[in-house]
């Protein structure tokens, strides 16, 4: 589903060059639930950004669905992100000036041709039902708890029915009960066929996934299958 081949990522400024990732080879199969762990600054988010086509590697290739996308143009990358990938962020990234329903609809606005206003609305309502927030559709983000906000973000990630969900510390800002709730939703989505890659600091959450990839100083230092979940 996603392959990172000999990836290197270097951040350059006029005076400093920082190696964020080096020699990464990672292949994620369809339907996997992979967690990525490592200390702060080890390159987890950079790795997730490369998988999500939000950033370009300095060297190496990224494949999504068997196609090398490294040379894709902005429009093609945007279409791939829109149709194949759903993002969940630690800080939710909800637009405070839009209602929950309007927030969830956003990915569908960038989908050309096949979505009309009412059909977008319907899909957004279904996604919110899926995360148990059908009674909060008209609310605004600042009227919701942290857990509810993250559920809205999950609804937004799944509204376009992507095959891949990339979650960057989705439980990082939540207490353990809320975190478990979110984790249950992600597990449910994975059971339904979504491929999920999740960056986390939380070992307990990581242990609920199929596979654990460990990073340290920009390099992969571990890649293990968690047999109990696989």
């Amino acid at each position: 589903m996603i392959s990172l081949n000999n990836i290197e990522k270097v951040y350059r400024t006029s005076s400093i060059e920082t190696l964020a990732l080096a020699n990464i080879n990672l292949h994620i199969k369809a339907g996997e639930f992979v967690s990525i762990m490592g200390p702060s600054g080890c390159g987890k988010s950079t790795l997730l950004n490369l998988m999500g086509l939000l950033d370009e590697p300095s060297r190496g290739t990224v494949e999504v669905g068997g196609q090398v996308v490294t040379q894709y143009r902005d429009k093609e990358l945007a279409r791939l992100r829109n149709q194949n990938i759903g993002f969940i962020f630690q800080s939710f990234h909800l637009i405070n000036d839009l209602s929950v329903l309007d927030n969830v609809e956003i990915p569908l606005l960038y989908r050309k041709g096949d979505s009309t206003g009412p059909s977008r609305r319907k899909l957004a309502e279904e996604a919110l039902e899926r995360v148990g927030l059908s009674n909060r559709m008209k609310h605004f983000p600042n009227q919701l708890s942290g857990g509810q906000k993250q559920r809205v973000a999950i609804a937004r990630a799944i509204v376009g029915r992507p095959s891949i969900i990339l979650a960057d510390e989705p439980t990082g800002n939540l207490d353990s009960a809320m975190g478990n709730e979110i984790m249950n939703i992600l597990q449910g989505l994975n059971t339904d066929g979504a491929t999920i890659v999740m960056v986390t600091h939380d070992e307990t959450m990581a242990k609920k996934t199929h596979r654990l990839v460990r990073l340290f100083d920009g390099s992969m230092v571990g890649d293990s299958i968690l047999m109990s979940n696989a």
């Binding site: 950004n49 939000l54 950033d55 902005d74 800080s91 309007d102 960038y110």
Partner: protein
């Protein structure tokens, strides 16, 4: 997407209230200035209806002398003037000659229509002296002196108002609804007669034949091109000797036209300058607000890119948002502006206001688009990964 943008801007209406008021105010000022310009431009496009080049106006003041006594002397002055080889034509007229500051008008009701009518008391040589084109019928001649019903020449505008647009006027009677004895027979129709020059509107005018008792105190003279001041000096000296005790003053219609034009052009230019400054102010304000807004919304831009927005769609979104904002202001502005034609404010043609509305709306959209282009392009170049990380 349009609904999304409307929702977004509507939900942020408090944040944008001042900007909205600013756009609204500039629209209203622009609408006012544009209406004024369109009104004057339309007037300018219409011919004045007479020739003012090489025309002099000699005003005559005969003091306490009775008008009936001064009348033959005025006629003698005219004949003397016509005797000069430099003079092509001459005519005696009331003081409200072209570009003068004098007017004679009333609001009679003819055929159920009440409107402003300008009256001129002139002699049979008036049309010839000013090269006025008679479109229908004829100008007076000396044979008309003894008619029972006064014979008049009117402008086309008067015929259109009283008898309907394009209807013939010659031979018809003008009967004042408020005084049935006040009757005039139309013997000729001229085109425009814009006394105050190019920028004044087309008016309804009636040209009466001046009688012996009328206060016709201006001698209009058409001179040969190139007639100089030396001739003017000689002529005025000779005329002065003919009517001792009278005060005679000469002025040039071409010069008077220039000073009349200033009356219209100066306020128009002032309003235009004020409006331009206001628009520049709005443009700079919008530019600043958009720049700040884009800096504050980097996270949102990153998010939208992550969710599938292209660089182009981010750019279009910001331009779209400012269009939506402008649309809110313009809808309010148009509601206010529409009151002008509906309530017939300033008695201008509704099409002047409608054209001004269209022009003002287009100018406002153009300005907001130009202001949004650079910031929206900046927004499009924001790297999504960086923007999301900053949040």
């Amino acid at each position: 997407m349009i609904r999304h943008l409307f929702t977004l801007i509507w939900n942020k209406k408090r944040t944008h209230a001042l900007l909205l008021i600013e756009i609204l105010a500039s629209f209203l000022v622009l609408f006012g200035v544009t209406s004024l310009i369109i009104y004057n431009f339309r007037n300018y496009a219409e011919p004045v209806g007479f020739n003012y080049q090489n025309r002099w106006a000699i005003s005559m003041d005969w003091g306490d002398m009775p008008d009936s006594v001064s009348y033959p002397l005025r006629q003698q002055l005219k004949q003397r003037v016509l005797a000069y080889p430099q003079v092509i034509a001459a005519s005696i007229s009331s003081g409200n000659y072209p570009f003068s500051n004098s007017t004679s008008n009333g609001r009679p009701r003819y055929n159920g229509v009440q409107f402003n009518v300008f009256n001129y008391f002139v002699d049979p040589d008036y049309a010839k002296t000013l090269e006025m084109a008679v479109l229908e019928g004829r100008w007076y001649d000396r044979a008309d002196e003894s008619t029972v019903v006064p014979q008049v020449v009117v402008t086309r505008d008067l015929i259109d108002k009283v008898f309907g647009k394009g209807q013939p006027g010659v031979g018809k009677l003008l009967i004042n609804d408020e005084d049935k004895k006040d009757k005039k027979r139309i013997i000729g129709v001229v085109g425009n007669f814009k006394q105050d020059g190019e920028f004044s509107p087309t008016t309804s005018c009636i040209f009466y034949r001046a009688s012996k008792t009328d206060w016709s105190n201006v001698l209009l003279v058409q001179v040969q091109p190139g007639t100089d001041a030396a001739f003017e000096g000689n002529m005025m000296r000779e005329l002065g000797q003919m009517v001792k005790g009278w005060n005679l003053e000469v002025s040039y219609l071409a010069d008077q036209r220039v000073s009349k034009q200033r009356f219209t052009l100066v306020p128009m230019i002032i309003f235009l300058v004020v409006s331009t400054f206001l628009l520049i102010n709005v443009a700079l304000g919008l530019f600043g607000v958009l720049n700040v807004s884009i800096t504050r919304r980097r996270g949102e831009i990153g998010l939208r890119r992550a969710l599938g927005a292209t660089e182009g769609s981010i750019s279009r979104q910001f331009v779209g948002e400012i269009w939506v904002l402008a649309t809110f202001a313009l809808v309010l502005g148009l509601i206010l502006a529409a009151q002008f034609p509906l309530m017939n404010v300033f008695d201008l043609d509704a099409s002047v206001y409608l054209t001004a509305m269209v022009v003002s709306v287009l100018v406002i959209y153009l300005i907001v688009t130009l202001c949004a282009l650079y910031p929206s392009r900046q927004a499009a170049t924001i790297q999504p990964a960086t923007a999301l990380h900053e949040e």
